[in-house]
């Protein structure tokens, strides 16, 4: 005799929300009961169809700006040193007499931009450290766990306007834990989380206008960080690993990123 199973229990089973004992009982029952199996399968298909097909409405830029002004944060202006130099050169060409003044002015502008750029980087470093610490302290390490491996990438892609590289790293002792959406440098970013031995590694990636660069490693406040630009994306990696192991992780991430 089969006990009657409530629809909400089958739903909770499909959502992986049953306690262990009930889940095991349900698994056992699913093996024996064809009808139940079909119901579970039907629900899974429905769930997948909804997740795949339903529109996710990301906040419009206008709302984001309004909210940013509400919290008093200014959107980050991206500096374009190259344009300034080109303009300066053209100006020098026009006025050879005051070329030296022009050169000095251009130098000052460039230095200021470099300084602005470095202060931007250090503020970003603060944010990256804060985000990493928050993720390791709280319960909110990942939004989507890697146990649902094929779900991580579509989930992140649906929440962001780009598709982050999602995959295991090809080095020993490394485990991909999952991903979450975080907020850095004035916009939402993908945070991919790895465990390397006993240490958590956060890898942030988002679109940016920077030119390609090789990883710049630094140590601060007990964390190893590396950042670089590649293919129009900014990359930041942070962890409390030792320097040698950290570098290995960064190289492995670059490999995964290059492969996609």
């Amino acid at each position: 005799m089969k006990p009657h199973i409530e629809a909400r229990e089958i739903n909770a089973f499909v959502d992986d929300e049953l306690d262990l004992a009930s889940r095991l009982a349900m698994e056992e029952q699913t093996r024996q009961d064809v009808t139940l199996r079909e119901q579970v399968e039907g629900l899974r298909q429905l769930r997948e169809a909804i997740r795949r097909g339903a529109d996710y409405h990301a906040a419009p830029a206008a709302l984001r700006r309004r909210m940013a002004s509400l919290t008093g944060t200014k959107p980050v202006a991206h500096s374009r040193p190259a344009d300034v130099i080109v303009a300066a050169q053209r100006w020098i060409g026009w006025h050879p007499v005051v070329a030296s003044f022009g050169l000095v002015a251009a130098l000052i502008v460039t230095m200021n931009l470099a300084w602005l750029h470095s202060s931007h980087d250090s503020r970003l470093l603060d944010d990256v450290v804060a985000s990493h610490v928050r993720s390791t302290l709280g319960q909110h390490l990942v939004d989507v766990a890697s146990s649902d491996h094929h779900a991580v990438k579509p989930w992140l892609s649906s929440k962001l306007d780009f598709s982050p590289p999602v995959s295991e790293l090809q080095i020993p002792d490394s485990k991909f834990l999952g991903g979450r959406v975080d907020y850095l440098d004035g916009h939402p970013v993908a945070a991919l989380v790895y465990r390397q031995g006993a240490h958590i590694v956060n890898f942030f990636v988002w679109p940016s206008s920077g030119r390609d660069s090789s990883p710049e490693f630094s140590v601060g406040r007990g964390f190893q960080t590396a950042h670089w630009s590649q293919g129009g994306m900014s990359h930041w990696v942070i962890s409390d690993l030792n320097a040698e192991e950290f570098e290995r992780v960064v190289r492995a991430i670059q490999l995964v990123d290059g492969d996609r």
């Binding site: 629809a7 089958i10 039907g42 429905l46 769930r47 097909g53 906040a59 309004r66 909110h140 959406v181």
Partner: protein, 191 residues
Amino acid sequence: MTDDVDRRRFELLAMPHLDAAYNLARWLTHNDHDAQDVVQEALIRAMRYFGGFRGDNARAWLLQIVRHTCFSWLKENRPAERAFLDDTDNSVHDIAAPTADEPPSIAIRKADRMQINRAIAALPVVYREVLVLRELEDLSYNDIARIADVPVGTVMSRLARARGLMRDALTPIAQPMLRSVPRSMHAGRTS
């Protein structure tokens, strides 16, 4: 000074969930303009109550405020939807059980974006909100219960009901008739 620290903290904790806030508001109000207004109002409220926030699960905390703001807005501006707000869940338990002989539906697998969006939009608001929070935000039953301000058992019933309604909406009317055709005969014809 403290004000600045609070703002910064608010920005770090709440702003990452702006998309989730807007997505929920957009699905509940059905349109962009009202959703933006609701989210703005909710965030202003959230900033005001930020002192009372204990620091765990900012997403659920913020969505709870957005949800509350949405429902106040609906009460005022969409009294027709309100009928469902007071809906008790007594009627829910029995209806949701799928018919025993229903095969995994090909129609559901093939349902396109428009059909799915339309079916979600047509759900009564209390079912729509649990479905959106579960399928689009991937929140746990506990978080949904906290956001919708109902017990977890109610979340379970509503979700089962919501999916039952979705399944019905996505299954063509011809489907029940096909079901009565014996399997062997059906297989013989197609192969």
